[in-house]
Amino acid sequence: MQVKRVLLLFVVVALALSVTVATAQDDAKVIKIASQSPLSGPQSILGTAIRNGAELAIEQLSGPLTEMGFKVEFVPFDDQATPDVGVANANNLVNDPAILAVVGHLNSGVAIPSSEVYDANNLVMVSPANTNVNITDRGLPTVNRICGRDDTQGAAGAAFAASLEGVESVYVLHDTTAYGQGVAEFFASAAEEAGLTVLNVEGTTETANFDGVIQPILALDPDLIYFGGLYPQSGIFINQARAAGYEGFFMGPDGFDASDFAELAGEAGVGTYYTTVAAPPTFYPDAAQFIEDYQAKFGEDPQPFAAQAYDSAGIVLAAIAKAAEEAGGEAPTREAVAAAVRATENYDGITGTYTFDDNGDPELATYVILQVKSADPAEWSSNEVLDEFQAPSPLYAVMQSGEATPEATPGS
């Protein structure tokens, strides 16, 4: 009897709560911004950074919207770095009409199928981290990113590798995901053009025991190994490859950029080169305040992509405010928000000034080449910046060179 009574009480309380929540939603003009990134699993360090960056931006930058009488809420989703989960989340969140924009994802392989769902529902996405060319090359009006692209990133890596003394042959390994394979193949083709011998392009899904993967690499004896993938895999791989007797260079894309890399790779990882589209926050002069606020709120240094997520959310907030103004102070439609995001011009963020081209790429993106300096994860932010440059997006490059307006990419 006692148990039944307690149960009944629970039910009543739960009902009452749900009623109050429902009425609260009806009263205020609520605008929600979602984030999707891996909050659990091996890549959660980067995914959590994206969530935290977006959360901080919404806390600090939603002033114009609150003045117009809106209440801006932040709803973080965990895509578990898995396409299925990302799409399931996407299907969930498009059904909430209050959600007007998504900040995310971390993984291109998750972002591509999820963005199809967003696009079908006119929901705008701004990505702080997805570098695969197909993110924007599909020409979807709702999909944007503020980071660079893998074709340029791979080529930048290859150019740098060719400039290293004693590097003539490279072995290219990737993790078979859209991101890893994409950037690895761009690296391989650019390396070949730069005169390097590409011994092999190989994919592996191995995550723990790389013994078997390493043997043919040792036999081919490349001067440099390029690993297109993320730190949970590459860190372990580099550790084991060095122990197995490989003595050349290691290089990778922005997926290496997390302090856990140092932990996983240990001493073997020191000296590893990596390219990134998201330079460390300390690299940006305007991000000093952000670093301070981030440390105060989350109690740790911002990991890569946190500052980019902050800017992504900032762009979204500015666009929603603009669309709301045009709608006469009412909550704007998703279409209007998407159009306003795409029309963003010279948004002054902490990591740069952003203008989107017709495909949703930033017209100019920054690429940085760094070298790991220490096996201590706490020293990650002291990695040395060896080179940096800005490169235009393909569309913007064509426009600049004065040719006729480029045609939209196939598939749009």
């Binding site: 659990s40 699993g41 091996p42 959660s44 078979t176 092999n200 190989e202 994919g203 592996t204 899904t205 995550t207 723990a208 025991n209 790389f210 013994d211 078997g212 993967v213 390493i214 043997q215 043919p216 040792l218 036999a219 081919l220 949970p232 860190g235 372990i236 550790n239 084991q240 122990a243 197995a244 007797g245 856990d260 932990e263 996983l264 240990g266 001493e267 096996a375």
Partner: protein
């Protein structure tokens, strides 16, 4: 009885020799034969392939590559093979007794690897890791992992399988999958709360003797062997000898064998069936745990998801060798590890294939063997009990 007395010394000496042969020399010899056999067969295969495709890609002479890679592939195959064999034993023991596949075994392996990490990390955090004697340290890590995983397996059997004994076979299978998910998420949550970390890195880099590879000069080149690879093989050999003695040389082992032959009759003969089943789970689980700790030390980093692939491979190895057969699990594990190492080493040279086809070919071998020997390499034909 009385006239046996004067000969006690001689008899015990002879029986000691027999004991050494049965429980030490024979199992070591068996492992040696399996390793050498698999290595020879696959080496012949590799050179055969080199004959068929002398130059699979421009500027790649396959024979030269095989020459260069052979020692490395064999060593990597042995290490992987022993880990598979140790996990496979857990599947095969439980199958032998209860006739069902304990699919939670891969997570028992994972828990072993995480426990090994915890032991080593805690010692490292306390700052006294470098003062430990290497042998004692490794024994401690393995024993704690064994104990923990063994008890966990017993608890799983008690909670999730015993109440379902006698239910249709699919039912415990489902509960095994459920336990699997539970363990993965439990470890994930536990590590997230206590360490706020997902990738659990063994502090092997903090130990000079464990970090420095051993250079073996084989043929024209040298092969770097990680000390942990020796540890894996040695640890596996010692525990496998102990298992062989336990199953074939002790009263409890005889009890397990009796229960696996006929549970009801064994019960009628005064054997406590439930205790024997628990014991089987303990032994199988502790083997999974030991394999986990050895695997973790060898690869350096484990995660709550680390059990799935080795678990599924070890299950394959158990089927390959003949499920229910302890020697078969050993053979199957070593064979599969070796096949994988060779495929990984050779497939890269074939354009349009590559290492990601390793599993495809490895499992094709499994299917081929099962077509010709449906009960596995060493499995006996078991008549379906009606």
């Amino acid at each position: 009885m009385l006239d046996a007395r004067p000969t006690v010394g001689a008899v015990s000496l002879r029986s000691l020799a027999e004991w050494i042969y049965r429980f030490i020399l024979f199992p070591i010899g068996q492992m040696f034969v399996f390793v050498v056999g698999a290595a020879v067969v696959l080496t012949l295969f590799a050179y055969g392939l080199a004959l068929l495709f002398p130059e699979p890609r421009p500027n790649i002479v396959l024979v030269d590559q095989v020459n260069r890679q052979l020692p490395g592939m064999i060593i990597s195959g042995i290490t992987t093979g022993f880990v598979y064999a140790m996990i496979a034993l857990g599947y095969t023991l439980v199958y032998g007794v209860l006739k069902f596949i304990n699919f939670a075994h891969s997570e028992i392996f994972m828990v072993g690897s995480v426990v090994g990490f915890e032991v080593m990390r805690r010692l490292d955090d306390a700052g006294n890791l470098p003062f430990w004697n290497p042998v004692l340290l490794i024994m401690l890590i393995i024993l704690v992992a064994m104990l923990f995983s063994g008890l966990l397996a017993v608890a799983i059997e008690r909670i999730a399988y015993r109440p379902l004994r006698g239910a249709p076979r699919l039912v415990p299978l489902i509960s095994a999958i459920g336990i699997s998910f539970f363990l993965i998420d439990f470890v994930r949550a536990f590590q997230a709360i206590t360490r706020n970390d997902f990738n659990l890195t063994y502090p092997t880099n903090d130990l000079e003797w464990l970090r420095t590879p051993v250079k073996l000069a084989i043929g024209e080149g040298t092969v770097n062997v990680r000390p942990t690879q020796f540890v894996v093989v040695l640890g596996a050999v010692v525990t496998l000898i102990a298992l062989n003695y336990f199953v074939n040389g002790t009263k409890l082992g005889r009890g397990i064998r009796a229960v696996s032959q006929d549970m009801t009759t064994a019960g009628l003969m005064g054997i406590n069936v439930n205790r024997m089943v628990s014991l089987t789970f303990f032994v199988g689980g502790s083997f999974g745990g030991a394999a986990g700790a050895l695997f973790g030390m060898n690869v350096g980093t484990v995660t709550p998801f680390v059990g799935f692939i080795p678990g599924i491979k070890a299950f394959t190895a158990a089927v390959l060798g003949g499920i229910g057969n302890v020697t078969g699990a050993l053979l199957g594990g070593l064979a599969l590890g070796m096949i994988e190492a060779f495929l990984n080493g050779l497939l890269v040279y074939f354009p349009a294939l590559g290492q990601r086809y390793t599993d495809v070919f490895a499992f094709s071998v499994l299917i081929l063997i099962l077509i010709f020997r449906p009960s596995g390499l060493l499995g006996e034909r078991v008549d379906e009990k009606v």
